[in-house]
């Protein structure tokens, strides 16, 4: 059989496209099923993301020079990018939210980006590369933090005036009974759409990559002319992978800018 002759990483993968999202306990900490705080591969990759972000910005700001070197300019580009976004959407008042938006962007971007790393073939599932943001509970938590901040800050700053958010200024009085429920529903759907957008993008991208990889494997195993044809999905993977780099950045950007737009509502509820 040709399958046995191939090196292990070329053999058709037995695992389906969804197995890469499996959560594996690395250090089990399960208290009789009541509380489960096991250290899983998801936790491991969150730690990796936070550590690499810390390491990068520590290196970037270690020896500050007037004429920045390579790492420092990369750090400055990231800082300037988010600072400009915050300034453009919220103005000078938004500066207090900059650390939050920057942290959010860095975390989402690095989890998307590091999740694209290939796994080492033949290793146990616990050390496979893992995209934290492909799990809806992670993205939903992030979205709830953003929208929760909007609600808490808006209520503290404006008190009941924050409710003006649901009654936009300039709307005639007789339209308000119609507009207000729509505004309330659109406000309530914000965390859901924020979370599902990021989660679905990551999930779909990784599933497509795995499905294409499956095509290469099964075409190679088919032998003859079909093995030569396996180059076609291989080129496809390269294309999809490039698109995934764009999506990894774009979704982090969209998540951050939508947070900025929502925070702008907390700053000025009556549009």
């Amino acid at each position: 059989m040709i399958e046995q002759l191939m090196p292990s990483f070329l053999r058709p993968l037995a695992a389906g496209p969804m197995e890469q999202f499996e959560i594996v306990r690395i250090i089990p900490l399960d208290f009789n099923g009541a509380v489960d705080i096991s250290f899983t591969n998801a936790s491991l990759w969150m730690v990796i993301v936070v550590l690499s972000a810390t390491l990068f910005f520590a290196l970037a700001t270690r020896r500050l020079a007037l004429i920045p070197g390579g790492t420092q300019s990369m750090g400055e580009v990231a800082y300037e990018f988010i600072a400009k976004m915050v300034r453009d959407t919220m103005g000078d008042e938004g500066r207090q939210f900059f650390p939050f938006v920057f942290t959010l962007f860095t975390f989402v971007f690095l989890s998307n980006f590091l999740g694209l790393l290939p796994s080492i073939p033949g290793t146990p599932a616990a050390v496979h590369s893992f995209t934290v943001t492909s799990h809806i509970i992670v993205t939903f938590t992030l979205a709830i933090i953003s929208v929760g901040l909007v609600v808490v800050y808006g209520l503290i700053k404006h008190g009941f005036g924050f409710l003006k958010l649901f009654a936009p200024s300039g709307v005639p009085l007789w339209l308000l009974p119609l507009i207000t429920p729509i505004e309330i529903v659109s406000f309530l759907s914000r965390p859901v759409s924020l979370a599902v957008r990021l989660f679905a993008n990551m999930l779909a991208g990784h599933v497509v990559l795995k499905v294409f990889a499956g095509f290469v494997g099964s075409l190679l195993a088919a032998g003859g002319v079909l093995s030569i044809l396996s180059v076609v999905p291989l080129i496809g993977i390269v294309g999809v992978f490039l698109l995934e780099f764009l999506v990894a950045f774009l979704q982090a950007f969209v998540f951050a800018i939508l947070t900025c737009i929502y925070l702008q509502d907390a700053l000025h509820p009556s549009h």
């Binding site: 599902v196 957008r197 679905a200 993008n201 979704q251 950007f253 969209v254 800018i257």
Partner: protein, 74 residues
């Protein structure tokens, strides 16, 4: 009809919104490019908004995909 078969048909039907997403993306890319070609100096200002619109439109298709996955795997 078998329940399993109905599940697969349902999952197939759930990704029909991709039709609209394809149309939307085509219109968006076309208009962005025609805008960019008519006034190349304005391209830089358009790109940011364009990518936000791209991500928002693409997300609609992915919502459909999530529903399809929910039907298939739950």
């Amino acid at each position: 009809m078998d329940a399993e078969a109905a599940k697969y048909i349902g999952a197939g039907l759930a990704v029909l919104p991709l039709f609209g997403v394809g149309l939307g993306l085509g219109i968006m890319f076309g208009n962005f490019l025609s805008g960019a070609f008519r006034n190349p100096s304005a391209t830089a200002g358009l790109t940011g908004n364009f990518f936000i619109a791209f991500a928002l439109t693409e997300a609609t298709g992915l919502f459909a995909l999530v529903i399809a996955f929910l039907i298939l795997f739950s």
